[in-house]
Amino acid sequence: MKSEKPLGGRIFTIPFTIFFIIALISLYFLGKRFVLGLGAVTNLNDGYPWGIWITYDVVVGTAFACGGYATALLIYVFNKREYHPLMKSAILTSLLGYTMSSVAVFLDVGRYWQLYNIFLPWYGNVNSVLFEVALCIAVYTFVLWFEFAPTILAKFNLEKLQAALNKIMFILIALGVLLPTMHQSSLGSLMIVAGHKLYPLWWSSFLPLLYLISAVMMGYAVVMVESSISTLRYKLPDETEILGKIAKVLALLAGIFLVLRICDIALRGHFELIFKGDLLGNIFIIENVLLIVPVCMLAIPSNRKKPRVLFLSALSMMFSGGLLRFNSYLVGFNPGNGWHYFPAAPEIIITLGIIAIEIMVYIWCIKRLPVFQKA
């Protein structure tokens, strides 16, 4: 039987050093944020109180981190054993994605020193969508750490603990499927209350369902992209066959998503907004073309055997899902009254720093921990 092994090799490669430098620069601006306030490093304002930290680091970030969720769904709920080789690396990216999102939330909230108020029963507001999202993401981040713990324990030869954890693992995995189902749909519900401030192409009472399907899609797309890159970069065994199977599931989901999306807009009577030729109409078209093209490509069986097609289709779907989130949180959001927002340079650098740290930890993990199956 094949088993997972550390990939080994040097940690401080040239790309790693570049990520390291970006992370250092972002630390400087973070210092500024904590001494002078959010206004000193961001372009956030009273009209656009949420910028790229929430939109990218949290909303898009956790959707990119749905690989673990989507893969667990296939393996443990639909009992598709053949996908098991992808599980560990998918859990790792999910773990890093969610942990970094939690860090981003901490940096973004103004009154971080009392962030724990949400968890106090006398302060927590059960009517609030954000309360549910925050609680769910916090618990899920813990669950992911426990799901990944055996891999870390293996490095330190703690077999007893590993065995104990393995006994309750089924509960963790079940939670790991339930919690993202809850909060990934709620990330869509969050914008319902924005009402007239969100452009009708994105405001819909179906946002929770659309976000949920989209999150599962992004999960599979990320797994495909990540496997393709790792296979190339670290010369791992070829996984094209298994990825081709995932691609089939992905194309099916994307088809359902598109039908729902278009029907919803048509039924609400906003179909003509798509072809108005303005920025919002056009960006909606781009968002959906990035989905339609890969669906058409992947619908052809022979294409699902070509690594290049699989990689590019998955990448395109990742972008489409990212755009959906950017559009419904920022581009399509207009508070009126002349407010506008474009992220400030330090704001972007902090986001890049978070991504850099995420990648650095990922590289360390796969080189030092048994994550990938080696031939």
Binding site: D46, N79, N125, L178, S189, L209
Partner: protein
């Protein structure tokens, strides 16, 4: 091993029910009703002369620092509501701008402040219950001890009222709290007590609605008495009635507000958005409550998932 069709269907049905049912149960639960003891304000743009005394009064009552703008920064002149400005008078102008309360070639003033919604988005949105609606008066207030600074109240508010302290390392949210500290002493909000023309008056929302309807039935050009400061003050001003837009802003908008507005110029021209009668809050709360009432649905799904995972995991190993 094949997927068991029945297991597959159970999970699919469960998870889709979680996401679909709320979207379909759209029609139920119409949102919150007006409180019988709700206190509010009536702002009548046709009576407002733009003197901005209410803005000065608001500053004094709430200890807010002046906001000088322009090159010399000589006097208080805020451009917008902000962390230091809870109340502002703005001007609408069209064409020659000569006739008061005319949409074309006219002008009008408009007061901007927290509307104290019947079903407030900020209260529903706040994850830490920092925004609360008083159970008696319906005044919406803010508690910095609870606030985590997430700013979801700002995203949620249809009128963009809550303001954040962007340039502080220890920021708070700020907005009009209808001078609840003065109301506690039996006084009325500062902007109402200082308004010289009766453009802004204080009172129980039910009585204010009756007063607003009385004004809408007035014959334009004829002289009438208008109460000043509050409905109970006994003070009145005599003035010829203007031609009103036949609508009381806040009567039904977004489930109703406790600050009501009358105007001679269409409301969307003076910066008040066209809003549906149903509050957005009731839509999102409906979704949340359908899914998470008593956590029954999540627990059932969790049970099903645990069973499936335990079974499949054993098969795998």
């Amino acid at each position: 091993m094949e997927i068991r069709r029945r297991d597959f269907l159970k999970v699919v049905a469960g998870t889709t029910a979680m996401a679909v049912s709320p979207s379909l149960s759209f029609a139920s639960s119409p949102g919150k009703k007006r409180l019988p003891g709700a206190m509010g304000m009536l702002y009548d743009a046709t009576l407002c002369i733009g003197c901005e005394v209410c803005m000065v009064a608001c500053r004094k009552a709430n200890n807010l620092s002046p906001q000088p703008t322009g090159i010399q920064k000589l006097w208080d002149n805020p451009k917008n509501l902000s962390f230091e400005t809870y109340n502002i008078i703005k001007k609408y102008q069209n064409g020659t701008g000569k006739v008061k309360d005319n949409e074309i070639n006219g002008f009008s003033f408009v007061k901007s402040q927290c509307m104290h919604c019947v079903d407030p988005s900020c209260v529903s949105a706040c994850p830490a219950s920092a925004m609360t609606k008083d159970k008696e008066t319906g005044v919406v207030s803010y508690n910095p001890e609870a606030c985590i600074g997430c700013r979801y109240c700002q995203v949620a508010c249809p009128f963009n009222i809550p303001k954040f302290e962007w340039d502080s390392p220890f920021p708070e949210i700020a907005k009009c709290e209808m001078c609840s500290h003065l109301q506690a002493k039996g006084e009325i909000p500062a902007c109402c007590s200082e308004c010289p023309t009766g453009a802004t008056i204080f009172g129980p929302v039910e009585s204010l609605l009756i007063e607003a309807k009385r004004r809408q039935n007035m014959e334009p050009g004829k002289y009438y008495y208008f109460p000043a400061n509050s409905l109970k003050s006994g003070k009145t001003n005599e003035k010829s009635a203007s031609k009103y837009i036949p609508r009381i802003y806040g009567e039904t908008e977004i489930g109703g507000t406790q600050v009501l507005m009358l105007s001679g110029v269409p409301f969307n021209k003076i910066g008040l958005p066209d809003l549906p009668d149903r509050s957005y809050t009731s839509i999102s709360e409906n979704i949340q409550h359908t899914l998470y009432r008593g956590m029954i649905l999540p627990v059932i799904i969790f049970g099903g998932l645990t069973y499936l995972v335990a079974k499949n995991k054993n098969n795998n190993e």
